[in-house]
């Protein structure tokens, strides 16, 4: 009977491969997730910046109209609509006060609504508000209403 001095290997064959596959898989998944997350964050930041830029462009246009209305003596007629600096301004009377209102759209579905009050040769801002356009109701699909 021969005695063989064979040393057993501490780790079997295939352990290195298994370990490498696991490590590579983890690294790849985390790398892809990081990249996707960063890309989405950048897209969101750019979208927010574009929205703010569009608002201030509309704001500047509204100020230009306001300055023009402050200076010019436009004959007031209830229900009259006049184009001032490329924007349609509606003049009307409410509660005995002379008022004007106009809107400047910006972005995809927003508008800057301005309402002014004229008294004693001065123009006072009553409303300077950002409003969102109501989304259109999609009724192309015949959804059951529960009754018919």
């Amino acid at each position: 009977m021969q005695k063989t001095n064979e040393r057993r290997l501490p780790v079997g064959y295939g352990a290195a491969t298994l370990l490498t596959v696991f490590a590579v898989l983890c690294l790849t998944v985390f790398a892809v997730l990081s990249l996707l997350s960063a890309k989405n964050a950048l897209a969101l930041s750019r979208s927010a910046a574009d929205n703010v830029r569009a608002y201030y462009e509309a704001d500047a246009a509204a100020i230009a109209v306001l300055n023009e209305l402050d200076d010019a003596e436009i004959p007031f007629d209830d229900g009259q609509s006049v184009t001032v600096v490329g924007t349609e301004v509606l003049f009307y009377e409410k509660d005995g006060e002379r008022r004007a209102a106009y809107e400047i759209p910006f972005g995809t579905a927003q508008r800057l609504s301005v309402e002014l009050h004229f008294a004693g040769g001065t123009c006072t801002v009553i409303r300077w508000q950002t409003t969102a356009d109501a989304p259109p109701i999609d009724d192309t699909l015949g959804v059951w209403d529960g009754e018919t």
Binding site: K39, A48, I63, A64
Partner: protein, 127 residues
């Protein structure tokens, strides 16, 4: 007999060497991806900071009724030759400059490239 041991350990070490080589290659590629993700994240952070600072500056300009000096004082910015300047971070700088009837509020990075810009208007009659 040593030849038996050698015959068993050679493929064992070869497998480990191949595994380490393959892992190193993959790690190098993934590190590049991580670095790119980090760069995108920093760019998003810079844009967010720039937008907030520009809005703040526009509000100060409007509150000062179009007076650039007063607006700069409110923001803690230095003013020189009708241009107000305020460092935001190590790399971002905000500048306010009269541009006709508007005030150009610009945020630039360390290299002078524009990160964000808005043009703010004030009511007529302001200084």
């Amino acid at each position: 007999m040593k030849s038996g041991n050698t015959a068993r350990t050679t493929p064992f070490f070869a497998e480990w060497i191949a595994a380490i080589f393959f892992f190193a290659l993959c790690a190098a590629i993934c590190l590049n991806v991580f670095a790119h993700a980090r760069a995108l994240s920093l760019e998003a952070q810079a844009i967010d900071t720039a937008v907030l600072a520009a809005e703040n500056a526009a509000a100060a300009y409007r509150a000062a009724d179009g007076d650039l000096r007063e607006a700069a004082q409110r923001l803690g910015a230095s003013i020189e030759n009708e241009t107000a300047s305020l460092p935001l971070t190590d790399t971002l700088t905000l500048t306010m400059r009269r541009d006709g009837t508007l005030c150009a509020i610009t945020v630039t990075d360390g290299g002078g490239a524009e990160v964000f810009r808005i043009d703010c208007a004030a009511r007529k009659g302001a200084p």
